[in-house]
Assembly symmetry: C2
Homo-oligomer: 413 residues x 2
């Protein structure tokens, strides 16, 4: 894409009420726009990043048998009353609204109840199980405070998968499979080394749930970590009993801040019982379906990646989620033809290029390239044309090098 | 995909309160699920159809310079008060809700106001124009009645593009360009012959707006049509004056029912003036930006396509939006290996196949193939194996024919 086709431009300042570094940088780069605290629009560059994060998660959910769907934001109260979560005292993040006829509706903060009800149309027999529907959807949560940019939204993107299994064993096997899929997601996003599967409180049907916590000084959670053993414990279950069970002692653990980037729960029959989701087993007996739920926040991940990799010049996107792979700059009139040609060559070869074709000083273009955090800057300048070379500059550090057209193409494709 | 991986199954009946044929068929086929009137979840098959409709629209919007974004559902009242549309008397489809601190918010039924405000960050000079941001987003409209299935939703998918231009001439040129893009969309969706650009009321800044109306007996709109001249007039502007201006007489026009599948509006400075969106022109003068808005409803289109092409056996998807191209059925134990092999061959060749690998009677499989409306059924049966042939049956009618593997591949790839 040419910069001239992009309606956004970099901004000198983020709104003064924006305190989160991720949102400040993303707003200055033109990735997002702040509608209100915790509510952000995605502009063309931001939409591209978000879609890449979503696509990575989608591929990994499909790899464990996920079936993509899309549930609704508007919710009638009936199923939530059956589970007891309609009450604002029980679930304190509801946005509620009304139909024209006065009927009260809610905006879904999560989807266990409506999906459990929906599955009653499709689950009858053991032959219909197990199944793993999931969705990418905008969730609404009426947070009292929302000051962490994309990392705690009132309106935000969520991937939620739900498992419906016949037995505890079948559930446990899937729980382990999706744990591995989650690790693959964080690995592909460049957060693998920093992300730990963390013991957290389990609810009525399991001793523990698990959170995937990424170490970060701006994390809202406190966890206790032993990196060598790969053991992490959320402070909510940091008790002598749990430590003994996991075979670690307090002096082996360090207290660190972390961001919850995913969570997985064994739900047992918490929702299938009140909503009466049963199946007939091989012996003709009626049994409750065993459920689990598995969340990842793509918009929170985008904020965390923005915040984690940034340096004092701006964003530094990992290649897997960068809005473009190459930021192409031409310097001087005489370089324009060559830059146009290279742009065509690279895009034809399938390389995603943002071509800064604006009539701007080189310094301004370089500063934008750095703020936007595109992985590789390629400069075509009059000075280097004679030697037939291009300048290749990795955003993540390291020296600029000079490459022939062939070397450049080999490096980028 | 194998049927056994799909958690939905065909249902004998739609909910008794569902009166729209499109929703009845889509629910029976397992494409959608009714959450409440006008609010539907998309199940795996329905999600595939919706995404194909969206992708066709996306390609055509990109072809006229569109820049994809994603605005927010939650809206603060400020900008809507400036335009005068916060008032429920003025815009009677608002869903409103409240932040935890009591501040009233709305759920966006459309996005002229927030986008106009957003563009103030990016439009300063004539060099920043024209621009064409667009989005696919869930809109919320608190309709009093919602009985037309996907064709009138309270929560539904909308593509809305907004144009920001320097002059009326620049606006007019784009208005014509996007009209052509709209025609291409409806053509690709199989509705080209049935869809007419229709004169409708224009508002304060233009004599007319235009609707794209698809002829349908279940349409909620009445238009007056001259097919030969390609002139269509919405009843709201069906006056002697308009007829004279368009050079047609009443006896040349037939009264027909139609579904509004798209609309395009010249907004002039209706929103840019109250929200103070200005630019500096080539002479240093400050001018108001000229705007337009352009909507298409992907979910409504999905409902209309479902309803329009259906026959007494079920859905009949045009190939461009079908969830799969081929419905593969094997009959008899001995055919299984050959069917598996063909499934691998076709999917490897990039053909989207739904492989009915269930342990079911052939009659049940054929009935499902027809209800789901997949364009081509391919049957692998013991009886035909010896001759090395497959049975190829188009869903849209015509005889089944026998094809060799080579002929089949040539036909499908």
């Amino acid at each position: 894409m040419r910069s001239s086709q992009l309606f956004t431009k970099t901004l000198k300042d983020a709104p003064s009420d924006e305190v989160a570094k991720n949102a400040q940088l993303l707003i200055r780069g033109g990735f997002i726009y702040k509608e209100m605290a915790g509510v952000y629009a995605y502009l063309p560059l931001g939409k591209r990043v978000l879609e890449k994060v979503i696509q990575i998660i989608r591929e990994e959910m499909n790899s464990v048998g996920g079936n993509e769907i899309s549930l609704t934001a508007l919710q009638s109260s009936d199923v939530w009353k059956l589970s007891g979560r309609w009450d604002d005292e029980v679930m304190d993040v509801w946005f509620k609204t009304n139909l024209a006829n006065g009927t009260e509706l809610g905006l879904a903060p999560t989807h266990e109840e409506p999906l459990t009800k929906l599955m009653k149309s499709y689950i009858r027999s053991y032959k219909d199980l197990p199944v793993y529907p999931y969705q990418f959807q905008i969730k609404f949560r009426n947070e009292v405070r929302s000051k962490s940019g994309l990392m705690r939204g009132r309106e935000f993107w969520m991937k939620d998968l739900y498992s419906f299994s016949r037995t505890q064993e079948e559930h446990d096997t899937f729980y382990e499979d999706i744990s591995q899929a989650y690790f693959r997601v964080f690995e592909r996003l460049g957060l693998g080394d920093l992300t730990y599967k963390t013991f957290a409180s389990g609810g009525s049907f399991a001793k523990y749930s698990h959170e995937f916590q990424t170490l970060s000084p701006v994390g809202e959670d406190t966890i206790y970590l032993n990196k060598e053993k790969g053991i992490a414990i959320n402070e909510e279950v940091y008790t002598d009993e749990v430590l003994a069970e996991l075979g670690v002692t307090k002096d082996e653990l360090e207290e660190v801040k972390a961001v919850e980037v995913g969570n997985i729960f064994t739900l047992g029959t918490k929702y299938s019982d009140p909503l009466d989701l049963k199946f007939t087993d091989e012996n003709g007996e009626s049994k409750s379906v065993i459920m689990g739920s598995y969340g990842i926040g793509p918009s929170r991940l985008m904020g965390l990646i923005a915040e984690h990799f940034a340096d004092d010049k701006g964003l530094v996107w990992p290649e897997a989620v960068a809005p473009f792979k190459v930021y192409l700059v031409s310097i001087g009139e005489a370089a324009t033809d060559k830059a146009n040609e290279l742009y065509e060559q690279l895009t034809t070869a399938g390389v995603e290029v943002l071509y800064d074709d604006r009539d701007e000083r080189p310094g301004a273009k370089f500063a934008d390239a750095e703020l936007l955090g595109i992985p590789y800057r390629v400069t075509v300048s009059e000075r280097l044309l004679e030697g037939g070379k291009f300048e290749f500059t990795p955003r993540s550090g390291g020296e600029s090098i000079l490459l022939t057209p062939e070397e450049l193409l080999a490096k980028l494709t």
